[in-house]
């Protein structure tokens, strides 16, 4: 066991939250836990913005002719919804909030390797966010979050430059976070914490960081070239001057496909922690699950061309990308099987985090399997660019990443805030979100197969029934998201005080007090056992 000593102080003990007061103590903090909270507040803000765009879109689509706004406005809504949700919510969500908070605690360190870089990355994120908000206020942008040329570079007369700068800048925030995690995991593990004793969340964060570090710079340079093309019309992506618009798509997806794994891998890490804790079992096939994260990170870089099967890309390149896309499905499948097997002969309890984790498994399974339709060339030709795509990636990004994020927030909330939330409300919210999500997005699979293209501000009347169903589901989903927002804020003041380890979980973060002191551990812990040592003593270790 760890040597971290805990005095049984409960209430007025010194912790990272009451260590210092005033806005300066937050805005100039170098404490990874406080920076995590800065991120938590900012990404929640962007989630609300992106979410309200989604709500407006779903209301608009209740009528075939469009119920709410002009087509131009609708185009700006889905563009900003995509940009805000992807670059300013999903990509930083688990890494920058939970990762920032937990990586040093889990490795048994006092902070990340580079606390100043960490704070810098939050400021970079905020500056990027301000550019994006500015572009939204100053008329919006209507290129779609994919910025396809030559529409974005030559034909769109909206705020392309401002939003390109915003995304470009935010990319560096992501790079710095990834760099910090890699160095921390390599160099700052507590004595005895070998690679194969690490919690799977750390493995997931490590794999995610690899993608952030290797992929994001390519997005940055691509967006930079796009901005140059937009400002100067040098011709690099413009066919009128001999450029090739498909080159933009190659460079864009080189990052933006792996970016999907930046969103889903951390959620997988969270789910591994939760399942192990609430089944009181070591994750079935720990090493396989760990390696599959790395395999996904590496293979995920080789499949970007499946976004381009119908764009006039070479059919032979399409063939290779199709094959590799199928291969990346395998490690994901392995993870699902292993999580399911972890439940076998476990001792399962149904606290709210576990409900989110189980919901994740179900929705991710559907999202992953519907990905096969799109990796397969012949069916992708029909489904590409339709609502089937929209449904598929929302199952991965919302059903997967957001469920994982919410599960993680609920799991570690007692650690983060030192308070407990009402479990009944949390379980109810989890159920409403699960149902609302399926109501919203399942009809979209059918819509896509029937042929309704995405990004349509108005549509033929025959698609109305399914669109209305989807919009109805979205209201349920929206309510579902509001509930945790209310009771989590409520719990910060009125929730019962949380003990250091309310779930009886393993892992170094539970060995310190809740909330942890600024220096995390009174004494650097020494690790002497495997991760997830939930079993009785005689069976533990091997």
């Amino acid at each position: 066991m760890s040597t971290a000593t805990l005095e049984p102080r409960v209430h007025a003990q010194r912790n990272y939250l009451n260590d210092d007061y005033g806005w300066k103590s937050w805005l100039f903090t170098l404490d990874h836990k406080r920076i995590a909270l800065l991120y938590l507040v900012s990404i929640t803000f962007f989630f609300v913005i992106g979410g309200s765009f989604a709500v407006l879109m779903r209301i608009h689509l209740v009528e075939p002719g469009g119920a709410l706004v002009q087509p131009e406005t609708y185009n700006k809504l889905f563009t900003l919804h995509g940009i805000v949700m992807i670059f300013f919510f999903l990509i930083p969500s688990i890494p920058a909030v939970l990762g920032n908070f937990l990586v040093p605690l889990m490795v048994g360190a006092r902070d990340l390797a580079f606390p100043r870089l960490n704070l810098l990355s939050w400021y970079i994120y905020i500056v990027g966010g301000l550019f994006t908000l500015y572009s939204a206020i100053a008329g919006g942008v209507d290129t779609g979050w994919t910025f396809y040329t030559p529409y974005s570079s030559t034909y769109s007369n909206t705020q392309v430059t401002a939003v390109a700068i915003g995304v470009f800048i935010t990319g560096f925030s992501s790079i710095l976070t990834g760099l910090n995690f890699i160095v921390t995991i390599h160099k700052m593990r507590a004595p005895g914490l070998t690679w194969f004793r690490m919690p799977l969340f750390l493995w997931a964060m490590y794999a995610t960081s690899i993608i952030m570090v290797l992929g994001t710079p390519v997005l940055a340079i691509t967006i930079f070239l796009l901005a140059l093309e937009h400002l100067f019309h040098v011709g690099i992506f413009s066919p009128a001057l001999g450029g090739d618009p498909l080159l933009f798509q190659h460079l864009f997806w080189f990052y933006s496909h792996p970016a999907v794994y930046i969103m889903i891998l951390p959620a997988m890490g969270v789910v591994s922690e939760i399942i192990a804790c609430f089944a009181r079992k070591r994750i079935f096939g720990y090493k396989i699950v760990a390696f599959s994260s790395v395999a996904i990170a590496v293979l995920g870089f080789l499949v970007w061309g499946h976004h381009m099967f119908v764009t006039g890309q070479s059919v032979y390149a399409g063939l290779i990308f199709s094959l590799l896309s199928f291969l990346v499905a395998i490690p994901s499948a392995i993870k699902v099987f292993n999580w399911t097997s972890t439940l076998y002969k476990g001792s399962i309890s149904y606290e709210a985090p576990m409900l989110y984790a189980l919901g994740f498994i179900g929705l991710f399974t559907m999202g992953g399997l519907t990905g096969l339709f799109l990796a397969s060339l012949a069916t992708d030709v029909h489904l590409n660019g339709t609502y089937f795509i929209v449904a598929h990636f929302h199952y991965i990004m919302v059903g997967g990443a957001v469920m994982g994020y919410l599960g993680g927030i609920h799991f570690w909330w007692p650690k983060i805030s030192g308070r407990k939330y009402p479990n009944g409300w949390a379980a109810l919210a989890a159920a409403i979100i699960f149902i609302g999500f399926n109501l919203t997005f399942f009809p979209q699979f059918i819509l896509g197969y029937l042929g309704m293209p995405r990004r349509y501000a108005f549509y033929p009347a025959e698609f109305q029934v399914l669109n209305v169903m989807s919009s109805a589901g979205a209201t349920v989903l929206g309510v579902g998201y509001l509930i945790p927002l209310v009771y989590l804020i409520w719990s910060m003041r009125y929730g019962p005080i949380a003990e250091p380890n309310p779930w009886g979980a393993t892992g170094l973060e539970w060995k310190t007090s809740s909330p942890p002191p600024t220096e995390n551990f009174a004494e650097i812990p020494v690790v002497t056992e495997e991760a997830y040592a939930y079993a009785p003593e005689e069976a533990a270790g091997d």
Binding site: L179, G215, P217
Partner: protein
């Protein structure tokens, strides 16, 4: 920031590390990972370059022949020399020679400055020849005659890459020179000793990386298709 007594022994040691060695290891790993992101950052540009060079080889050849190969080669040697002085500066810091550290850092700054100066002359030349894409694109006379066989539109793409790649490189040089000046200031204060010189080493690695980028830019921009 809270520092416990044991960690405050050395001014250069940050509180999150156990000892200086762990900190140095972390710094070194950090800068190498940063350099990898730089590889990918320039890499996107190199990938785009590779595609267009293959598609429009004659135009790239024509554009390349406008450049002054002597200036390019001379500048390459200047930059390599600055890498040498940088390596020697790190060595001096390692050995604890403050005077020679200052000397070599200054030499690196000067060589970097010369490189940027030559680059400015070359850029100016492009404006004189009106081969700046979009801003001043009206090649005439001899220049026009050289560019025409490869297709004028595509020569513009070549010059876009010329400016984008060398411009991004020059930007990195300018940042590098700024970092070097910061090192000079710290070295004058006597901040570095054989146990603590990580900033010198980190900036050194960055400087060498920028040098390597140029090592590729020179043949890729100046030497396309030979000069025979």
């Amino acid at each position: 920031m809270i520092e416990t007594e044991a960690q405050a022994q050395h001014a250069g040691l940050a509180h999150q590390f156990e000892d200086l060695e762990q900190q140095q290891d972390a710094d070194a790993l950090g800068i190498w990972i940063f350099l990898v992101t730089e590889i990918m950052f320039f890499g996107g540009l190199f990938a785009a370059y590779a595609i267009y060079r293959w598609l429009y080889f004659p135009a790239f050849q024509g554009g390349s022949h406008i450049l002054d190969i002597r200036l390019g080669a001379a500048n390459t040697i200047v930059l390599l020399a600055s890498s040498l002085t940088m390596a020697l500066a790190v060595r001096s810091a390692q050995a604890g020679h403050r005077r020679s550290l200052l000397l070599f850092l200054a030499a690196t700054v000067i060589l970097g400055g010369i490189f940027l100066g030559v680059k400015a002359v070359e850029y100016n030349q492009k404006f004189v020849e009106h081969v700046v894409p979009s801003l001043d694109w009206a090649p005439e006379g001899q220049t026009l005659a050289r560019l025409t066989p490869g297709g004028l539109e595509h020569a513009q793409i070549y010059f876009f890459f010329y400016f984008a790649m060398t411009g991004l490189h020059a930007l990195h040089m300018i940042i590098g020179v700024g970092l070097l000046l910061w090192l000079v200031l710290r070295a004058r204060k006597g901040d570095f000793n054989p146990h603590y010189f990580a900033p010198v080493e980190v900036v050194g690695l960055y400087w060498h990386f920028v040098d390597i980028v140029w090592i590729f830019l020179f043949p890729l921009l100046y030497l396309i298709g030979g000069r025979y």
